[in-house]
């Protein structure tokens, strides 16, 4: 197999919609790669997802238009990608999103190509042609720097929402449709897929978005406002200890020591002062936004973004534009 000086990204196509992690990977590779950034897209004949991908400025998009393959299983997609590489040559790197699909297809393809694969990368950069891969292990308690010096492609899956995506116009963008990709049909699996409906607010420990209210938002009106904001954000509602005195909340809703430890992508604190009993439960939250009337509130030290002022007013404004 001939080696080609290109860096490939596998576009995740979920039932005719590109998963936004693909855009993030394009932006990241555009930033770090000297070689052309190529997106591999599998889609139905009638689809035109190249258009959405173009907006993020890759150098090239290779599209395999194939109705059956667009809903293919891991084995079939592995087969098709291996054949594509056989035709086109072996790229320097091949990046998959660390989604369920990416984490399932990439290792199969790795085994087929007998190369290395690093899972769930949080950072990537090049030293010459060598891709330096930063991968967490032990539940993100340890970071490893991993390389694949001898084998090509250097394969990784990269975690969603770690890199940000930026739209970019690439005047030299090339789009190539390939039609003669062979793959072996797998008769063993019959797959029925359904779009996942927005999940309803659940257990705060697992929730991706949490709206939390504290002593400073204790009135019925405050709570009503928070509930309505949470609904709009598809968030779960959490409380600090004093609010568990109300009939509406129990220890299952309480965040912090003697309550629950949470790890949402987004936490919005309304009227919470930030006592250690509370903040010890939120240290794994990714983005923390806090609203408090006291400009010296402790909670601001634990926040990425804060607003000094009335929590109810802010919640209302936020809800209005969501």
């Amino acid at each position: 197999m001939t080696a080609i000086e290109e860096n490939w990204i596998f576009a995740e196509n979920d039932l005719d919609e590109i998963n936004p992690v693909t855009f993030q990977l394009i932006t990241k590779m555009n930033q770090i790669s000297h070689d052309p950034v190529v997106v591999i897209l599998i889609e139905k004949n009638a689809a035109n997802l190249e258009k959405v991908l173009s907006a993020y400025g890759p150098d090239k998009i290779i599209t395999i238009k194939d109705d059956a393959l667009a809903t293919g299983d891991d084995l079939e997609i592995t087969d098709a990608l291996a054949n594509l590489i056989e035709k086109k040559g072996t790229p320097n790197t091949l990046i998959f999103p660390a989604t369920v699909a990416g984490r399932s297809i990439a290792p199969r393809l790795q085994a087929r190509l007998q190369t290395g694969l690093t899972a769930d990368c949080l950072d990537l950069h090049f030293e010459g042609n060598l891709l330096i891969q930063t991968k967490p292990s032990y539940g993100d308690n340890i970071m490893c720097e991993i390389t694949i010096p001898e084998c090509r492609p250097q394969m990784v899956t990269a975690r969603p929402n770690v890199f940000s995506s930026e739209k970019k116009i690439n005047p030299n963008l090339e789009i190539e449709t390939v039609s003669n990709i062979q793959w072996k049909k797998d008769d063993q699996l019959q797959i029925k897929s359904r779009v996942l409906l927005a999940q309803k607010a659940k257990d705060i420990k697992q929730a991706k978005h949490v709206v939390a209210i504290g002593r400073g938002s204790k009135t019925a009106k405050d709570i009503e406002g928070a509930v309505s904001l949470a609904k709009k954000l598809n968030a779960s509602l959490g409380v600090t200890r004093p609010l568990t005195d109300l009939d509406t909340f129990t220890i299952a809703d309480q965040i912090g020591q003697s309550g629950q430890t949470i790890a949402p992508d987004l936490l919005i604190n309304l009227g919470i002062s930030g006592a250690v009993q509370y903040t010890s439960g939120i240290s794994n939250a990714k983005i923390v936004v806090s609203i408090n009337t006291d400009k010296n509130a402790q909670i601001f030290k634990h926040s990425d973004y804060f607003f000094v002022g009335n929590a109810q007013e802010f919640a209302k404004s936020l809800e209005a534009i969501l």
Partner: protein, 265 residues
């Protein structure tokens, strides 16, 4: 149904630190346990066996002290266990590990179903299962949340980020199980002693048909250059504008850029 379940022994906590002298992970005083996802895989295998009959064989590659975990699987109800232990296997990454495991599964022979956990809690890769499937040339269903067994096929529910699937699968197949697949039972205290009546077989490199270039460190394309503890990123403490409407708009823009909120749906 003949079922093989892959078992990995991992440290009892993932809350580990790096030893400043050795620059390696400090495992002092840390006991081992069976990787929690593998317990879900084992429980699924036992339930399938109890429903449609057959045998459950647990399989682990590692040093001799991994035998404790295999003994534990016997106490939990597995019928027999195989330990793959050899100095030649040391230093293996996921590719070399899966190679030895897949060769062992071939040696077991006539296997209908391979079950592993969705990932290990120490390395966190989730790669070994799919690589084994590829090497055995069988299809796979990863991240199985629910598994129903029938005489000659399985029905599996799984979730991806934006969709859910129901899959009817013929055998042979490899599945990886999530922690939603079932509630693993606790080891029954009295069964521990009885489990010693069941066999643990040890296979060394010589017992398998292996290409030595694909084993251990030699067969591992990935190299760990260095390890470190993550830097706690200090919170930004960015103050939003004083006007609530403006502040809310600023926040929404930031959250969209970070993909926390999806673009206009």
């Amino acid at each position: 149904m003949k079922i093989v379940v892959g078992i990995k022994q991992v440290p009892e906590t993932t809350n580990v630190k790096i030893n400043e002298k050795t620059k390696n992970i400090d495992r002092r005083g840390l006991g081992g346990v069976i990787n929690s996802y593998d317990l879900h895989a084992l429980q699924a295998a036992l339930a399938i066996r109890n429903q449609v009959g057959g045998e459950v064989i647990t399989l682990s590659m590692g040093p001799d002290d991994f035998a404790v975990s295999l003994q534990e699987t016997l106490a939990l109800g597995a019928d027999k266990a195989v330990l793959l232990s050899d100095r030649a296997f040391a230093g293996a990454d996921t590719l070399a590990t899966a190679y030895v495991l897949s060769e062992a599964i071939k040696k077991v022979g006539q296997v209908d179903l391979v079950l592993v956990g969705q990932q290990s809690v120490d390395a966190d890769t989730g790669q070994v299962g799919p690589i084994i499937a590829e090497m055995l040339k069988v299809p796979q269903v990863t991240y199985a949340d629910k598994i129903d067994a029938f005489k000659d096929h399985l029905v599996i529910d799984r979730k991806l980020e934006n969709m859910e699937q129901t899959i009817t699968a013929k055998l042979p197949i490899l599945l990886t199980a999530t922690d939603k697949a079932n509630r693993p039972k606790y080891t029954n205290v009295v069964e521990i002693a009885k489990s010693f009546d069941k066999p643990i077989i040890t296979w060394h490199a010589g017992d398998l048909d292996l290409d030595e270039k694909r084993v251990g460190q030699a067969g591992s394309p990935t190299i760990v250059r260095s390890i470190s503890e993550p830097q706690k990123v200090a919170k930004k403490n960015h103050r939003l504008s004083n006007d609530p409407a403006t502040a809310a708009r600023e926040l929404v823009d930031i959250l969209k850029q970070k993909n926390i909120l999806t673009e206009d749906k």
